[in-house]
């Protein structure tokens, strides 16, 4: 049976003291976004673009608050330049990214960014953890949050498209 990985991520975030969640919606993150929105211990902040999340995270840490960002792989392309600030200031950063452009993709326009998400992040000095199956997602998030805040570093967890399992527009809309 597939583990309830969104609930496991949510538990990891609470246990780590994360109280601020910035997100740009993705179908793959639907349940985790809802869990964060419903939890009184957290503030979920809807962003117009993923790039805004980098400013949000930096400001929150200046104020002493831990945060994470939720986005899909295409959104990684929207924040490349501002990752420079994360690097030069050594701001802790945790990005949880649901992948597109992989096994089961139905939209060719999602493929170019999906194929290069890990490379783009690594080029900008963000450590990448690939969660290829539902069983490993929570462990990767645990490691990423721990390392980001213990070592003042940038971490991304990429959740493979086969974990999310959406294969058509209709399925995405019916979710």
């Amino acid at each position: 049976m597939q583990p309830d990985w969104p609930a496991e991520i949510h538990r990891q975030l609470i246990a780590a003291g994360v109280t601020l969640v910035g997100y740009v919606p993705d179908a793959g993150h639907k349940r985790l976004i809802e869990l964060c929105q419903e939890d009184q211990r957290m503030r979920a902040v809807s962003l117009t673009s993923e790039e805004e999340g980098i400013g949000l995270v930096a400001g929150a840490w200046l104020g002493g608050q831990k945060s994470v960002l939720l986005m899909q792989s295409s959104g990684v392309g929207n924040l490349v330049n501002v990752l420079g600030m994360i690097k030069v200031c050594r701001f802790p950063l945790v990005m949880i990214v649901t992948m597109r452009g992989e096994q089961g993709e139905f939209n060719p326009w999602q493929v170019p960014m999906g194929e290069n998400t890990a490379r783009v992040l690594e080029t900008m000095s963000v450590a990448v953890r690939q969660a290829g199956d539902a069983q490993t997602v929570a462990a990767h998030v645990h490691t990423a949050v721990g390392l980001a805040y213990e070592t003042q570093g940038a971490q991304a967890v990429l959740i493979a498209q086969r974990v999310i399992g959406i294969k058509s527009f209709q399925e995405q809309r019916n979710q």
Binding site: T48, L56, V57, G59, A60, Q65, V82, F91
Partner: protein, 196 residues
């Protein structure tokens, strides 16, 4: 006679008390430094478009402190979506001040969108800021927004397009971050909350 940016920023930050200050890259970072570099100032050297969002993150993390973002018109335009995001969050302790010379001052004084009539205060009002004003002569009302009025607040201050000497803040990002956190959170800022 148009307002002069350095005297505007100096007046806004006079007797700043425990105000937390973020400045966008370029001229506004030099302006706040000219007014007096301080540990509770975070002048940016890059990440264009993100000044307002840093202010939002800070305002959410420190709801009992007042936060001001002082940035330029070009920087605000690049991150204009942040106004909508702040409008949704309704942070009462956050004020955004745009020092608007209608120019990209660091790159050859090219005109920005505001030079053609784009009205940033109107955008902020449309984004559900509680107060949004444009000041052309008197910065008293802007000080009022910054220090007293529940927000989120927004002010555009129209200034002349003079080219001024550089007054540079520290440029080491780790230093800027660490000094800010220590001044705000105390020495314990250097360790994680669970390790304190």
């Amino acid at each position: 006679m148009s307002l002069q940016r350095r005297s505007v920023v100096k007046e806004l930050l006079r007797d700043r008390g425990d105000l937390l200050v973020v400045a966008g890259l370029g001229s506004t970072a030099w302006d706040i430094t000219d007014a007096g570099d301080a540990d509770l100032s975070f002048p940016m050297w890059g990440a264009m478009g993100q000044a307002a969002m840093i202010g939002l993150g800070l305002a959410l993390a420190q709801p009992k402190r007042r936060v001001v973002v002082i940035t330029g018109d070009g920087e605000m335009l690049m991150g204009i979506g942040a106004l909508a995001t702040i409008g949704v969050q309704q942070t009462p302790n956050l004020t955004i001040v745009v020092i608007d010379n209608e120019r990209y001052g660091e790159t050859g004084m090219q005109r920005t969108h505001t030079a053609y009539g784009v009205d940033l205060a109107a955008v902020a009002l449309g984004c559900r800021f509680r107060h949004a004003i444009t000041a052309t002569k008197d910065v008293g009302p802007v000080r009022e927004l910054l220090y007293r009025t529940p927000g989120p607040n927004f002010a555009t201050v129209k200034v002349g397009d003079e080219k001024l000497p550089l007054v540079l803040p520290p440029k080491d990002g780790v230093l800027l971050k660490a000094r800010f956190r220590r001044a705000l959170l105390g020495e314990s800022a250097d360790v994680l909350p669970e390790e304190r």
